[in-house]
Subunit: 487 residues, 2 copies
Amino acid sequence: MQRSVIREGGEAGSRLYEQIAERVKGMILDRIYRPGDRLPSVRELSRQCGVSITTVLDAYRLLEDQGLIHPRPQSGYYVHAYANLKPPEPMRSTPAALPSSFTRDEMLQSMTHEIDRRGLIDLAFANPNPELLPVAKLARILSSVAREHPEASYGYGPPSGHRAIREQIAQRSFSAGAVISPDEVVITMGCQEAMCLALRAVCKPGGLVAVESPCHYGVLQAIQLAGLQSVEVVTRTREGISLEALEVALCEQRDNGNPVQACLVSPNFQNPLGSCMSDEDKMRLIDISKRYGVVLIEDDVYGDLGFSGDRPRILRAFPGGEETVICSSFSKTIAPGYRVGWVVAGRWHKEIERLKHSFTISAPSLPQLVIAEFLTNGGYDQYLRRARKVYAGNVTNMVDAVSRFFPEECLVSRPSGGYMLWVQLPEGTDSVALYTKALAANIFVCPGVLFSTGDGYRSFVRLTAGKWSPEIEAAVAKLGRMIHQMG
Amino acid sequence: MQRSVIREGGEAGSRLYEQIAERVKGMILDRIYRPGDRLPSVRELSRQCGVSITTVLDAYRLLEDQGLIHPRPQSGYYVHAYANLKPPEPMRSTPAALPSSFTRDEMLQSMTHEIDRRGLIDLAFANPNPELLPVAKLARILSSVAREHPEASYGYGPPSGHRAIREQIAQRSFSAGAVISPDEVVITMGCQEAMCLALRAVCKPGGLVAVESPCHYGVLQAIQLAGLQSVEVVTRTREGISLEALEVALCEQRDNGNPVQACLVSPNFQNPLGSCMSDEDKMRLIDISKRYGVVLIEDDVYGDLGFSGDRPRILRAFPGGEETVICSSFSKTIAPGYRVGWVVAGRWHKEIERLKHSFTISAPSLPQLVIAEFLTNGGYDQYLRRARKVYAGNVTNMVDAVSRFFPEECLVSRPSGGYMLWVQLPEGTDSVALYTKALAANIFVCPGVLFSTGDGYRSFVRLTAGKWSPEIEAAVAKLGRMIHQMG
């Protein structure tokens, strides 16, 4: 920081710390100090500016209140990950106008065939960071579990899943504020089967399901598969589903004679937005669902991956939330390839168990037992702390790269958890064309049209920021050039 | 054998060998020689009966033609496993009268909750014999695969399944007479998911599916889950579905304006009958399906477990069979707990792949890779030879025990593969009551009502004979006493 003395006196004392704060803020916005950087120590800044320690402390506290910087104990003040306010966040939520069904299956299917391309930089699919995952530890546990549990091979295993993993899931729900019994848990093939079974159990064919907009395509697929239609609801980039818009939609469909039967939401770190609902909004959501007789199905698959210390609560944790259905999995946190998810379904438990048995009999045993052992003795919490930190860092890096390489009009979300970014490209940019162009250059992005049954997100892309590397940065730069060329 | 001289002369020479044959047959039926026993050598019998070697040979050949005995090279003649003609086989097939849906979910669900009971003798569920399965070998392969393929944990894996296992499945189809490409195979959660996806892809909601009667409840569940109804067709205990009855049913439903859309059959070792269709019948079935525009879905899950040396062919192997959909799994042969099945769906391939992705994204990776490695280098064929022999023996033991302990009016099937027996109890015996009574004594049987949407099999039970032990024999004896008491 350049040495400069700020003149004291003349105006009120409060002005002085504000001046200091303004100057520091200017340097943050000008990217002299970048997200994650350590700011000068209080003593140092006091000397540089020729002001008192108290004045500097007041200035830093003001910036802290503005969400630009944050203190770390014994270490000083740091620029907040999202202090870089350029580019701003996309604010536009453009739900499909009418209840409708997902129709982009073919595109999605053709995308799944590209996964194995050699040298592909995958910014499209929501895979966790392989370097983070406890792969070696799981392999060791697997060897011993396979030796100690021969019945995991020769038996079918209980339709609801093994007791060991159901107990761990119940225990861990406590950190999300809810008291759940192991007997309520049904193990599924990831969160996707959990949602499919939940929708099937809760809704009548031809029914309507309210969802966030934009909405993860897996949700739209599950709704279509269950013979239902989605009603997309305006969703705010940071705060989650608009409860006002939800209530309007519920009213409207009720008046149309086909009332919405369920609301499938992801209050904690929604995919693709990374939004997180406040406790107040969660309580209001429960209240609305009760008033309209709508079943709440909560997708909590990213719930453990918040960037701040506190694990946000699930709807079950709130008064009146006992009847919500919870869907989740370990695919984002421990091992996608193990395909271990779960559903907790309250009064639909028995029906879900029946459906599960009819469809796949039971889940493979070994992955369940291995994850149960990892949760019990493997240091999941320690691993999670590291994962959250890495994802927060990678997401910041990706926001930063987008801001540097994409056209200035681009907007990008600032998720508070998970590892996905939602990027609004310049008006008129066709993200499907970008997808094709990028794929030809071995870069894989997810076009926005997959996140609605309508066409409202044609100029959006979702980028996954699970990993970060110079190659990924170069790919983002290349993407930026393509978008510039398309403008 | 008691020494006795059969008088030569008087009547025609042909009579003499027939007399010998009658006497030997009598001793078999009286259980002096029991299934599997070695008969006296030709020389010995010739000496005992005071007849020529040629006469004895003629007698043995006659008994061989009657299916009572069989020669083993360098070893002599043996009583055939099914030579014990008491009790006879059940011949009654009583399909539900009208197209209908499975309604015994609750009973089935409550049964799945009993599996873990301590000390339960499980003769109900179709689990393979744990002692036969290559559990230790799989555990060793698992350890090395987990080390060598970290991507199996951190990646989702291709929606259709890993190439390695799809190649092995394609290769092995050759032994069932069919040429299949790995690209046609989609890996599923066992045969159950395979059937569910196939029905969903092939049929329109509200449609009809022809099935064998009795029919495995898993098939009835899958049909119900897909929003379809089953049309049950008379099935012969040894020869499989009656093609005449099938054609009548297809005609009838066509005339009713709701033509049958698919026929889901298990030509090779059907569950619960163990029947096996002849090649001629398989060809006729294909012909009928073409004439009526019905899609054939073949459940081949027991196809590798025939008791005779030749692997029966699947429908795909026959002219015109290219369009059949094949469903199968390794749950009966390698590891039920791995849940690795597959579907080969011809022109429905793309739709099945799409449905699979919508429902469960992809199958767990490690079980696929382990089974692929076992099939490649693990000695699957050798293992299979042993398994077939053991199952043939255990099935014979079970038939034998039923004949000794159950009331004389009981009838029992003689499967040519698999490890299930279909037992007809005395008229009026309620197998659901028997189920409850047996369960109270820690014996688990499968009541016949689960094998139809109607009530035609109330006096039947299915017994699983995968394992055999003195405890199981004692359980069968106890069951027999219960049935006697119920009469």
